[in-house]
Amino acid sequence: MLVLRQIGHGDPTTALLLADEPEPAPGPGEVVVAMEIAPLHGSELMNLRDPTRVPPTALPRIPGTEGVGRIVAKAADVTGFEIGQRVFPPKYSGLLRERVAVKAEQCYAAPGDCPAENLAIVYTMGLTAWLLLEDYAKLPAGSWIVHDAANSSIGRIIIALARGRGLRTVNVVRRPGLDTALKALGGDAVVVDPGNADDLARAVAAATNGAEICVGLDMIGGPLAGRIARCLAPGGTLVLYGGTGGAAAEIDFMDLHRRDLTVTGMGLSRAFNRRSAGEKAAIMAELGRLAARGVIATPIAAVYGLRDYRSAFAHLAREHAGKILIAFDRTRDAP
């Protein structure tokens, strides 16, 4: 079976190695999952390039943050899962390999009757969006929230989930032309970031008829986090969840002082793991159902076979609209 390994740092062509290796066997409590689909996140590129993220002592490692697959073998002591069942294997378990042995208790059941592509980003992006709204935006129906990077994969899921919870979204984006697409997902207002806080706050106020917005979600950090803060009502909370921009969040003193804002960060693992096993399974089941029905979805830029990983990583490094997926079905491989 094929396994992709990171063996060094630098360019994907030299830092990655695809090898053919023996099939895994399930140890006690384990199932073997045949991967169907796994997304390539931007963080995979950073892992290749940045030795402070992945120290040389952590090499070799198998990339692959999340994905979905079917159980093809299980240990005798595993209950609750059947051969052929589709599951979400645990995150960060090195999923860019055809088959992986993982602890059954760390797997979540996934819907079996939809295209695997629908489920590719449920476990990170879908879950992040769900937890943000559950933990920070439990507001009366009709309340507004504001968020940036609204056209990103998570941003789009936030729109759909917020709509399902009866919330209204102001969607801050970088470029014009997204109005129709984001409103079709369930967004209520789309505002192009004018690049300064007062103008953004004015545009948001105009788009919401001056509604009190108590919750803002920021994926980027830097000055944009401060611009979202300017849109919030007194006592409001700004939740940072991505830090995609890499820069420290910059919050204006006057916003903190005059409007008593709270600025906090949500980390996915902690927000999820502080819940009971039962709650976690119920959340994953709900997200699976929503993804199977296409309620939460992400545009797909391209799907590559694992053998074609070089093209996939090259595409990841270019500007791309939507997610890049790895499919493990060998019929996709070029002959």
């Binding site: 950090g221 000055p223 401060g226 940072l240 830090g243 890499g246 420290a248 969040a249 910059e250 919050i251 204006d252 003193f253 006057m254 916003d255 903190l256 002082h257 005059r258 409007r259 008593d260 804002l261 709270t262 600025v263 906090t264 960060g265 949500m266 980390g267 902690r270």
Partner: protein
């Protein structure tokens, strides 16, 4: 009756003038207060120059945010405040003038004692109380807090109030020469900012014997905020109450996400009822009058020398050495 009047946003020398206004009359429910002392804050300068976030006004306006004075006339229905009564003037009431008419109900009784010291009760004193009571109320005696700008008036009050509660303070300053002075006030540790958050946090860790610090106060902003965040234990809270750098508060992702540090703001009432505010003033002004809390006064200026006062306020650190006070009737 002389007053410092601002006519536009701009340099103080161009937009603030000493003017002669009619003597104020006490309307129904009002008293006329003769201002004894009114502190100047960094914000007073920003309100004059009109920095972003500080353009709140229509002109002309009288400068000065707080002060202490004595009632000289009582209007109808204001008999509760007789002439001679000393009061704290309402915040934001334009205190850089000789006399002013204010609603008696908005004045808070003030004790006898050093007017210049007492004049700092409403803003710097109240801020220190809110920081400690509302945000560090759960820090047990023997526990630590950390603050920057520790030599500011508010920072010094924090040291005194924390000491009264048995809470230890680790104080970040820019100059080594302040260590002895702050230690004499009751500071448990004084750390000179190393210019970089990780390095300063390492000094704080060493100075506090690796104490877990749950709350920190930031009045510096920019990387000052990040520095305080870096000093805190997992899940800690940075309370920002000023921005001496004039820059935005910066929170790094490693603190927000990996260490779950929160950043919050505060304001000057923080959900207190007027009665609760009165009670805080009474306690604070008692401590100030007794000398238990003592601010460093750099200089006091009469209204006629206000431009010198603005220039003095614009300097920092060793160039200023404390608070600037306006004495409108000097």
């Amino acid at each position: 009756m002389k007053a410092l009047q601002q006519n536009a946003y701009g340099p103080p020398s161009e937009v603030v003038a000493l003017v002669d206004l009619p003597e104020p009359e006490a309307g129904p429910g009002q008293v006329v207060v003769e201002v004894e002392a009114a502190p100047m804050h960094l914000a007073d300068l920003k309100f004059i120059t009109g920095e972003p976030g500080f353009r709140w006004f229509t002109f002309p306006r009288i400068c000065g945010h707080e002060g202490i004075g004595r009632v000289v006339r009582s209007g109808p229905d204001a008999a509760t405040l007789a002439p001679g009564a000393r009061v704290f003037l309402p915040i934001g009431s334009g205190t850089f003038r000789q006399r002013m008419a204010v609603d008696a109900a908005a004045c808070i009784p003030a004790p006898e004692g050093d007017a210049q010291q007492l004049a700092l009760t409403a803003i710097n004193g109240m801020t220190a109380v809110i920081l400690l009571e509302d945000f560090a109320g759960t820090v047990p005696p023997g526990g630590w807090i950390v603050q920057n700008g520790a030599n500011s008036s508010c920072g010094r009050y924090v040291i005194a109030l924390a000491k009264e509660r048995g809470v230890k303070t680790c104080n970040i300053v820019r100059r080594e020469s302040l260590a002895a002075e702050l230690t004499a006030l009751g500071a448990d540790a004084v750390v000179v900012d190393a210019g970089e958050p990780d390095a300063t946090a390492a000094l704080v860790t060493a100075a506090t014997g690796r104490a877990e610090i749950a709350v920190g106060f930031d009045c510096v902003a920019a990387t000052g905020t990040e520095t305080i965040a870096r000093c805190l234990a997992q899940g800690g809270t940075v309370v920002n109450y000023g921005f001496m750098t004039g820059k935005n508060c910066e929170m790094a992702f490693r603190d927000l996400f990996l260490r779950r540090i929160k950043l919050v703001g505060m304001n000057l009432t923080h959900n207190r009822t007027p009665e609760q505010v009165k009670a805080v003033y009474a306690k604070l002004s008692g401590m100030i009058a007794s000398g238990a809390m003592h601010a460093k006064i750099a200089a006091a200026y009469p209204l006629a020398r206000a431009q010198e006062a603005f220039a003095h306020q614009a300097r920092t650190g060793e160039e200023r050495q404390g608070k600037i006070i306006i004495l409108p009737n000097d």
